[in-house]
Symmetry: C2
Subunit: 158 residues, 2 copies
DNA sequence: ACTTGACCTCAACTTTGCTTCAGGTTTTAG
DNA sequence: CTAAAACCTGAAGCAAAGTTGAGGTCAAGT
């Protein structure tokens, strides 16, 4: 399967699906949403440019990190799709995404750090936990820790 | 509004909503899904522990970065909710999340970098773009760049 | 030529994560 | 004590992001 495909300049929907790992139905869906485009053969079948493979890859990467299709679409709509890209639009778009991505990265890192900080407590205080500095000093059982937690926040770990 | 609330050890659903910024209906939903819990008053109204506020915060943070509720639920289900947390479970869970979060952060950073790399090209080659090293040497117009791109990948930016 | 696997469209269904609505109960402020 | 504001449940609706299915066409190998 896919024997001659590597030489061809265009991909069928099945080839695009196999190579991108995205279901054919999803590719159709993306096309309906205007995220990707295709030309049609005389027999009305889709043919995609190779570049579409990258476009799909970008879409999936963006999606996996929680960016909704609509926003991805907005971003990609500034891109060439066969034409020379508009330099200004591209750079502006890129700046926008940078900011968004930076913010997302920041939040993820915070979530990770918060999670780390709270190991040994479990009260989810997100960085303000009264226990965060006591891991070494207190055992996990007995009334000691519990009383300290309650002193710090009556509802915490109660 | 909320005048006495700061002293109370429990929150009504409205207070939890105001303080967390999450709609009452969403809180009900989370409760149905088992993400948060409440006790009921004699009149059948919900009362939440203060710790629930943190739990909700964590849920929203996790959601914003693309983690589905089901997974958040799985993660949170190991947590105390009034009991002393099981240390082993907690640590194991935390390790799992760490890995997941690290992976997410990695992907996001890659997406950001790819995006940066491709400024000036627009062909979305994701790091393999033939133009990435030419920004300074070539103008944006004329046949020069286009030819180079086509040499590198016939379908790219075509 | 013909069959079989890939494609086509369109409509309906699914899942996730909620919101809205209707109809009724509880709390709280004056 | 009463009226408004907040709360309750259950059902229905919605948007996003697809999937599934029916019924039909296209194209590739033998």
């Amino acid at each position: 399967m896919d024997t001659v495909a590597w030489n061809k300049s265009e991909l069928t929907v099945g080839e695009l699906s196999n190579r991108s790992g995205v279901a054919v139905s999803a590719l159709h869906f993306y096309e309906r949403q205007g995220l990707i485009t295709s030309r049609r053969t005389s027999g009305n079948q889709r043919r995609y440019k190779r570049a579409t493979l990258r476009r799909v890859a970008l879409i999936r990467i963006a999606q996996r990190v929680g960016i909704p299709l609509a926003e991805i679409n907005r971003a990609l709509s500034c891109l060439p799709d066969g034409r020379t890209p508009n330099q200004q639009d591209w750079e502006e778009l890129s700046r926008e995404w940078q900011a968004d991505l930076d913010e997302r990265i920041r939040r993820l890192q915070q979530l990770r750090d918060d999670f780390t900080d709270c190991i040994g407590c479990g009260c989810l205080s997100l960085r303000r936990c009264a226990l965060t500095n006591m891991h070494d000093e207190l055992g996990e059982h007995g009334p000691g820790p519990r009383r300290l937690i309650e002193d710090a926040d009556p509802a915490c770990c109660g």
